[in-house]
């Protein structure tokens, strides 16, 4: 686009047009970090009305935007400069891709004339991110900006959501032109499921004697929680959940048998291995949920509900596929009461048999009990973000979730370092929520610099750091599957985390005895502003049960089946 010859026409820069387009798409908050190639955009940011949060590493910005996107179901926005700024976003983009999170990523880029010349801070971020974006653009003409940005948001948020990257060369961001004519995009196509498939699903479910439903993350993403609960209430079918499906059914609901999979509950894993019809709703047969695929739910006829046709029969053949909007599909599947009373009684008996126990031996703080206490003592607006490792599994097992948006966990990618930036993203998205980040001594060091972001914006984020002086989950696997050959898992020389928090201006406390837990949790939750509770736990504590690799889900190792405790 060239400058208008008419002096009355107001000229706008590419950067201003991009920011106008962000605002038009409802963006209020962005996460990022400035640098050379993106300076024109940061220049236009001042006074634009967009609130920018400066994270202290681009990965923190991307992961905060991920959590913001999860919480709001609208694209989280992050931005960084070219080269290292852009590559530092990659983990966050991959995280959003694996968990189907709406995100729009803006990267600065060297001027178009220098593209492909190995210019300073030039990296082919478009190429690097091809496998981990839903779509991506290189902006080549300012006239395309309004349409391109609208489309980016529509793609990021529509269908199965995901990250969309906009690479923004510096000469385009500074180019001036008249505001292009703006034509709003037609609304995105909405895939309605086939009524015949819904009818077949009802019939197959109606024939079931031992039906089970897997609630997956897609239910939350598509805002179908209410429809799911009505479907569950109507059919009375027992429900299990994937990691990302936790909270779709309230944890304490009678029909909920717990999370399935590698660290799932025994009731859920026995139910799934014994069911004769399995309704999979917005889930994708991830290997951590299925265990050995060939022996997963061996006698089940599968009804798969998903918006993404590419998930159908990817890993497990679906007898019935209902492709499209989940709420519409769930509203339509009405088989009457499905399954026998004896099956529901069996599931209830398994729930009793495999109920979590908190009478752990040992004198130290038992992390599962602390987490259970936390989620049952806290107000209803508690949102927990986790890092990745043993503590993440304990949160999934022992915390109570009445709403899936109360639990933010890096599921598909398993990104250590997610918890702290995620807490930042959620707190900004939901300022009224009580946000607790549960982290470990390994994970927190992956993005410890974000304590500065928390302090800078005085975000009331509560941090529970479960410190076992080790990379606990790796240590557990080395103990169980690598003959106790411990390799690079010892973190007994950790820094003094309480002191680290204080150095960032965040009040902290350290505890190591069970008797201190109640008062410490009370202190943490009632403290004004951010606070960190450092909890020393037994380095030899493991996550139980555990389905060892290559085993079907019902072959669960328990504490007493392992060599040592």
């Amino acid at each position: 686009m060239t400058a208008s010859p008419n002096p009355a026409v107001k000229l706008r820069s590419g950067s201003q047009m991009l920011i106008d387009a962000l605002r038009r798409n409802g963006v209020e908050h962005v996460f990022g970090y400035p640098g050379g190639a993106i300076m024109p955009l940061y220049d236009a940011l001042v006074g634009s009305g967009l609130q920018h949060y400066l994270c202290r590493h681009e990965q923190g910005a991307a992961l905060a935007a991920d959590a913001y996107g999860r919480s709001t179901r609208k694209a989280g926005v992050c931005m960084a400069t070219s080269g290292p700024g852009a590559t530092n976003l990659v983990t966050g983009i991959a995280n959003a891709f694996m968990d189907s999170v709406p995100m729009v990523v803006i990267t600065g880029q060297v001027p178009t004339a220098l593209l492909g010349t190995d210019a300073f801070q030039e990296v082919d971020i478009f190429g690097i991110t091809l496998p981990i974006v839903k779509h991506s653009y290189i902006v080549r003409d300012i006239a395309t900006i309004p349409h391109l940005v609208d489309e980016a948001f529509q793609l990021a948020q529509g269908g199965r959501p995901g990250p969309v990257l906009i690479d923004f060369p510096k000469d385009i961001s500074t180019a001036m032109g008249a505001e292009p004519d703006y034509q709003p995009l037609p609304p995105a196509e909405f895939t309605l499921p086939d009524t015949k498939a819904i009818k077949t699903a009802s019939e197959v479910l109606g024939q079931a004697r031992r039906p089970l439903v897997i609630a997956g993350g897609g239910i939350t993403i598509s805002d179908s929680v209410q429809a799911f609960r009505e479907f569950a209430a109507h059919t009375g079918v027992p429900v299990t959940a994937t990691l990302k499906g936790l909270g779709v059914m309230p944890t304490d609901d009678d029909c909920f048998v717990g999370m399935l999979g590698m660290h799932g509950n025994g009731a859920a894993n026995h139910a799934v291995q014994n069911c004769d019809v399995l309704v999979v709703v917005g889930a994708r047969f991830d290997d951590r949920a299925t265990g050995q695929l060939a022996q997963f739910a061996p006698s089940a006829r599968v009804i798969h509900l998903d918006i993404d046709p590419a998930e159908i029969s990817k890993l497990r053949r679906a007898e019935v596929a209902v492709i499209g909007d989940l709420a519409t599909a769930l509203d339509g599947i009405r088989p009457g009461t499905a399954g026998r009373a004896s099956w529901r009684a069996q599931c209830a008996a398994w729930k009793k048999e495999f109920a979590w126990r908190y009478d752990a031996p040992g004198k130290g703080i038992y992390a599962p009990k602390l987490l259970r206490d936390l989620s049952r003592l806290s107000p209803g607006d508690l949102t927990i973000t986790c890092d990745v490792g043993q503590h993440q599994m304990w949160v999934a097992q022992h915390c109570k979730f009445d709403d899936p948006l109360d639990h933010l966990s890096s599921g598909g990618l398993g990104t250590m370092g997610y918890g702290l930036p995620a807490a930042i993203g959620v707190k900004i998205a939901k300022p009224e929520a009580t946000v607790v980040c549960v982290s470990g001594d390994g994970s927190i060091m992956m993005n410890i610099q974000e304590l500065a972001t928390i302090k800078r914006y005085d975000l009331e984020v509560k941090i529970i750091l479960l410190d076992n002086s080790a990379l606990g989950l790796v240590r557990q696997w080395q103990e169980l599957f690598f003959n106790e050959n411990y390799s690079e898992v010892d973190l007994s020389d950790n820094p003094d985390f309480a002191l680290v928090a204080e150095a960032f201006g965040i009040p902290s406390r350290s505890i190591s005895k069970p008797g201190e837990v109640a008062a410490a949790l009370d202190w943490l939750l009632s403290a004004e502003g951010p606070a960190l509770l450092h909890v020393s736990i037994n380095p030899r504590e493991n996550v139980w049960p555990l389905v060892a690799p290559g085993n079907p889900n019902h072959k669960m190792m328990q504490a007493n089946s392992a060599k040592k405790r």
Binding site: G127, L130, P131, H135, S136, I138, R140, P309, A310, I312
Partner: protein, 92 residues
């Protein structure tokens, strides 16, 4: 062997995106012919070998925003072997 005819938009990276997906999803690229359509789009005719389903690859390709249409050639068996690439013929 699966043979697919893919119509794509002429966007930045569209060809790479489709080829990258094919290899990443564990389909081995055996041949690829890229052409142009009358309306400025691109066509790709690819043959891939994999133990995985051709229909699944078709659905995975269809997810890409740049991909407008994917046709999967029926698998032909000649003398006990999967047939080599057969010309798909121009349809535009």
């Amino acid at each position: 062997m699966h043979t697919l005819r893919i119509q794509i938009r002429d966007n930045d990276g569209a060809v790479l995106r489709a080829l990258g997906l094919i290899e990443r999803r564990c389909y081995r690229l055996r041949s690829c012919v890229i052409g142009e359509t009358n309306d400025g789009g691109r066509t790709m005719e690819v043959s891939v070998s994999s133990s995985r389903s051709g229909d699944l690859l078709k659905r995975q390709l269809e997810r890409l925003h740049d991909v407008m249409k994917v046709e999967l050639q029926p698998v032909a068996i000649v003398d006990g072997q999967h047939s080599a690439i057969r010309p798909l013929g121009r349809r535009n």
